[in-house]
Symmetry: C2
Subunit: 244 residues, 2 copies
C-alpha cells in the first residue's frame, strides 16, 4: 500500500504480543480483530485494511457489520487475482490452519468463477520458518515438499500464498512448484483494491508523497523495529506500544 | 504432578489464546504471567507452579514478590537435576528465544555449581514442530541437527530440555546427541520439588487419589480437548473458558 499510494498516511497496528492468529479458534480471532479495529478507528482512519488472512477469513463480516468506514480484507483481492490468472481452472490455496479451516478462499472463488476447482492445504510451519529467517536451505525445502506435494499432484496452475508471511518463502515454493505455476501474493492484490476503493469514493490523498506514518504494536517496540526491515523492506522508527 | 501426587486437586490454566510465550518480550511475558497468576489465586490454590520455562525465566521473581503462596518455576528444578547428572561438568540448555535470552539457566547453575560450564541454544522451531505433531521424520531430524550441532561439538554430557514442548521431540534429540548425553526433562524435576515443598510445609493432600481437577483455557475449550491427549497423555473433559 505504501509503494502504490505513497501519499497516503498509514496507521499500522501489529498485535505482536498475541500473534500468531493462524493457530487460534475463530472466536478468539474475531475477539482480537475487533479490539484491533477499535484502536485503529480511534485514530480516525478513512479505510480499514485487515492485512492478515486469518483475521480476514474469520472476522471480516463482523468488522464490516460494526464499522462505518470501508473494510477491505486480503481474501477477496487474492481470490480475484487467482481467478484471473488460472488457465486450467485449477487453483491451489495455502494458508494457516485457521484460514484453511474457514473455507474462505473456496467460498469467494466459487462466487467469482464457479467452474474453478480449488485445492486447499494448511501449512502451519511456514510462519515460524519465515519468522526464524529460514527462507531457504534443506529444512525449508523439505517442509515445502511435505506440504505442497499433494497440490503439485493435483496439477494446479495457480497458487494463492494465503498468509502474509508466505511471500518470504516465494523462492523455495516457486522452485518446488515449477515455472508453470503462478504464485499470487495477496498483498499486491489488496493494495490494488485499496487504491480502486479510495478513487471510487473520491477519498485519495491529495499530497503526492511523504506523509507521516504511525506504527503501533502490542509487544515490545524494539522487537518490531528489528523485524520490520525484513517484513516491510524498510526500517521504521517511533514505534508506539498499545495495551489491549 | 498428577502422576506423582494423585491425591492433589489441580487447577490448570492454559493461556492458549496467547501462546506461544517464547517469542514475546520479557515485559509482555511478565504482564501475561501476572494475569494468569491472578486467575489461579482466585481459585484458592495452595501452591502455584509456573509450568512454562519462558514464564519461569522472565516472571518468577515478580510473581513471588506479590504472591502469598509458594511459587515454583521449572528452571531451578531442571538446573538442579542437570547439575546432579553431569559428570564432565558440561551442560547444554535448549529453550525458546525468551528463555535463552534471559540467561536464567546459566544463572541458576552458576549458583548451584560454579564449576559447571553451560552452553545455551535457542531452538524456536521446536515448539511449532511439536504442535504440528512432527515428532520424527526428515524435517525434524534436519532441524535438530541444525540447532544442536554446536552443542554436540562442545561435548556436553547433559542437555536440559528447557521448554515444556521439547520432551515430545525426545527420540529425535536423543538419536542425534547420542547415548552418552543425559536429557533432563524439567517436568519430572519440577514435580519432585512440588512434592518436597508440600511435604515440608505439611500441606500434602490427605486423600490418596481421585480428586476433581479443573481445566481453564483462554482459547476454545474444544481445541484444548483435542490436543490435551497428546500433551497430558490423557483426555480431559469439562474444559472451561476464561477471559483475560
Amino acid at each position: 500500500v505504501m509503494e502504490r499510494m505513497p501519499g497516503e498516511a498509514m496507521v499500522y497496528l501489529g498485535d505482536t504480543a498475541r500473534v500468531p492468529y493462524g493457530v487460534k479458534s475463530a472466536d478468539t480471532v474475531v475477539r482480537y480483530a475487533r479490539a484491533c479495529a477499535r484502536i485503529l478507528l480511534e485514530h480516525d482512519v478513512k479505510l480499514l485494511v485487515v492485512a492478515c488472512n486469518t483475521a480476514s477469513a474469520c472476522a471480516l463480516e463482523a468488522l464490516r457489520a460494526e464499522t462505518a468506514v470501508p473494510v477491505i480484507g486480503v481474501i477477496e483481492p487474492g481470490a480475484r487475482f487467482a481467478v484471473e490468472a488460472t488457465r486450467d481452472k485449477r487453483v491451489g490455496v495455502i494458508g494457516t490452519a485457521g484460514t484453511i479451516r474457514s473455507g474462505a478462499y473456496p467460498k469467494v472463488i466459487r462466487v467469482l468463477a464457479p467452474s474453478v476447482e480449488v485445492f486447499s492445504k494448511a501449512c502451519p510451519l511456514f510462519v515460524p520458518l519465515a519468522e526464524e529467517g529460514w527462507t531457504e536451505g534443506p529444512v525449508t525445502a523439505e517442509v515445502v515438499k511435505t506440504y505442497l506435494e499433494e497440490l503439485r499432484e493435483q496439477r494446479i496452475d495457480t497458487l494463492v500464498l494465503g498468509c502474509t508471511h508466505y511471500p518470504l518463502l516465494t523462492d523455495c515454493i516457486a522452485a518446488y512448484m515449477g515455472p508453470e505455476v503462478t504464485l499470487i501474493d495477496s498483498a499486491e492484490a489488496t493494495a490494488a483494491v485499496v487504491a480502486e476503493t479510495l478513487e471510487r469514493m473520491d477519498m485519495s490523498a491529495s499530497r503526492a508523497a511523504g506523509p507521516r506514518h504511525r506504527f503501533l504494536v502490542s509487544d515490545s517496540p524494539e522487537g518490531f523495529e528489528r523485524v520490520s526491515r525484513r517484513f516491510l523492506g524498510r526500517p521504521v522508527d517511533h514505534v508506539e506500544w498499545v495495551d489491549f
